[in-house]
């Protein structure tokens, strides 16, 4: 799918679906210029890191950690180091990295090579979500092109700098989106997260220092360096520099990816996405992927889309996955499906998560099916506080935050289900609202 709409686009300029992703087209759009300049002008690695730092670029995978700062954590000097790209995009609602690989894989490659140069790494891997085989193959093709043109491999552009890059294909495990589980997975093991600290910058892939960034983050790096940190910083708003891809799904007329500057009002994105389906009323929005607490319409309609504003409203910008729900949605049913997902995807390593996610699902399931018990709402709340902060990775928190968000804003719907054994929204209305839908692209 092509990008469906933009406001002041940067990353998606010139995207042309399946027709414009090859090396030649990327170079025509100014691709590999940033890498070429670094090599030709022999720009010191520290200066590249400083420029990325100064640009205010923050990680686009969910946590929003400053990219330049992350790079600066890597030990200086010689030694085996790695660059890893996280394209294990499986957070429900998120589908932006897939489109980056489809439309502009060379931007990711260029960003990774530059990162390798900046931190002194000679090898890199792009971990690609198992379900997108065709784009894994496309990325490998793009890598072949980049190798043949001297942008990847030994002695890049005659500089003496070597950087070998490969793709690693996942095979279906949400938890591998967590960076240390992803490293385990590249090492050929079960994707079970590691204790942190030590962080990957100290002990990463094959126990060597490793920088891991999201696909969109790497793809932004060439643009940041071409336009300069100050110009990038000027897009968006303070502490929220640049543009971001937002994946809009659910009850809108035009589900798809949109690139807008951070700080754009939610209402503007909703309009780009064609508004709520069938002229119905907006009920709620999950603003940053399924782990982010849900926000009712009246709150989200007043928000701008940036890390600070969404956090202030009580949720997270996360990966920029905006799940839109209209008035036909039963919030108990919506949460039931999300809770099933976390239960299914818990890696089983930590007891609070393995057992807790099962209980969260089973309790929401019984409420949804008319068998809720008085006190279930408080039981759910108590479970979340006993899971959060008590696990090795953030999956336990990710499973708990949606429960807390749904209960905070829609407690009455849960209570109604428990008391009456049925939903406030009649089943036929729910069904009609979420049935087969043909998007108006």
């Amino acid at each position: 799918m092509a990008i469906l709409g933009t406001i002041n686009p940067l990353l998606t300029v010139g995207w042309n679906g399946d027709a414009g992703w090859r090396l030649q087209e990327y170079v025509q759009r100014g691709g590999y210029k940033a890498l070429r300049r670094i090599i030709e002008e022999k720009i010191p690695a520290a200066q590249v890191i400083d420029e990325v730092k100064k640009s205010g670029l923050r990680g686009r995978g969910g946590a929003g950690f400053p990219t330049g700062l992350k790079w600066s954590f890597m030990p200086k000097g010689e030694g085996e180091k790695y660059i890893v790209c996280n394209t294990d995009e499986g957070e429900p609602g998120t589908f932006k990295d897939r489109d980056i690989l489809r439309n502009n894989p060379h931007a990711v490659i260029e960003g990774m090579v530059i990162a390798g140069y900046a931190v002194g790494a000679a090898r890199g891997y792009n971990y690609i979500h198992g379900e997108i085989w065709d784009l894994y193959k496309r990325f490998e093709e793009a890598l072949d092109e980049a190798r043949a043109a001297g942008f990847v491999g030994k002695n890049i552009l005659g500089s003496g700098f070597d950087f070998e890059l490969n793709a690693h294909h996942g095979y279906g495990a949400y938890v591998c989106g967590e960076e240390s589980a992803l490293l385990e997975s590249i090492e050929g093991k079960k994707g079970q997260p590691r204790f942190k600290p030590p962080f990957p910058a100290a002990v990463g892939l094959y126990n060597k220092p490793t920088t891991i960034n999201n696909t969109e983050t790497f793809s932004a790096v060439p643009f940041v360096l071409n336009m300069g940190a100050d110009a990038y910083l000027a897009i968006g708003k303070q502490n929220n520099a640049g543009t971001k891809l937002f994946s809009v799904s659910g009850h809108v007329n035009r589900p798809g990816n949109y690139e807008i500057p951070l700080g754009t009002p939610f209402a503007a994105l909703l309009e780009l996405a064609g508004g709520v389906r069938g002229g119905r009323k907006l009920k709620a929005v999950i603003p940053g992927g399924s782990s982010a607490p849900v926000l009712p319409a009246e709150i989200i309609m007043d928000c701008t889309l940036d890390y600070d504003a969404i956090s202030k409203a009580g949720s997270m910008l996360g990966s920029g996955a905006v799940i839109v729900m209209d008035e036909t949605t039963c919030m108990v049913r919506a949460l039931e499906r999300l809770s099933y997902f976390y239960h299914e995807e818990s890696c089983g390593q930590c007891t609070p998560c393995r057992e807790g996610t099962r209980w969260l699902y089973e309790i929401v399931h019984r409420i949804e099916h008319g068998k809720g018990r008085p006190g279930d709402v408080d039981l759910l709340r108590g479970l979340t506080t006993n899971i959060m902060g008590r696990t090795i990775c953030a999956l336990g928190d990710a499973a708990s935050m949606p429960v807390q968000g749904f209960l905070k804003h829609y407690r009455d719907e849960f209570e109604y289900h428990i008391e009456h054994g049925k939903c406030l929204v009649p089943p036929e209305v729910q069904r009609a609202g979420s049935t087969f839908f043909k998007a108006t692209v």
Partner: protein
């Protein structure tokens, strides 16, 4: 037990990693074995482990952890339908129900003629194209309305 062609593919995967890190190729090697055999019997898992020089249990741990590996036989065409929330809001559940009715089977079942296996999937990272389904782990189908589902089933002999 693997064909020369599969072994060649596995060798290409091994070459991606440092020489002392052959285990890194286990995920790809298992996927290649599954592609050849249709599923992963324990002998296949063991021969992958042998080839990579790792304990069979290490390969089995991987095969049983990632959910796109099939440790039991499946039909010629495995259809995995996403019913997660974003898909659910755009007909993902209806698509699953439509398939169940049409094929006369439930999730994790195979049609008596061995043609189709139906699976419920988790997020495939394609929510904007909902309803989505994956055919044999490899081919993602977007906007699967009844007409498109009928066409797909017709094509998959």
């Amino acid at each position: 037990m693997l064909t020369t062609e599969s072994i060649q593919k596995i060798d290409r995967e091994i070459a991606k990693y440092p020489a002392d890190q052959k285990q890194s190729a286990v995920m790809a090697a298992l996927a290649i074995a599954q592609e050849e055999l249709g599923w992963l019997p324990s002998e296949a898992i063991e021969s992958v482990a042998d080839y990579l020089g790792i304990p069979p249990m290490a390969a089995y741990e991987v095969a049983s952890f990632y959910n796109m590996y099939d440790l039991k036989p499946v039909g010629r065409h495995k259809l995995t339908v996403c019913t997660n929330l974003p898909c659910m809001l755009s007909g993902g559940v209806d698509a699953a129900e439509y398939l169940k009715k049409k094929l006369g089977i439930g999730f994790n079942e195979t049609t008596p003629d061995g043609r189709f296996t139906l699976k419920e999937g988790e997020c495939m990272g394609a929510c904007g194209d909902a309803p989505v389904m994956l055919v044999n782990n490899r081919h993602m189908c977007a906007s699967m309305l009844p007409e498109q589902i009928d066409k797909l089933l017709e094509e998959l002999k």
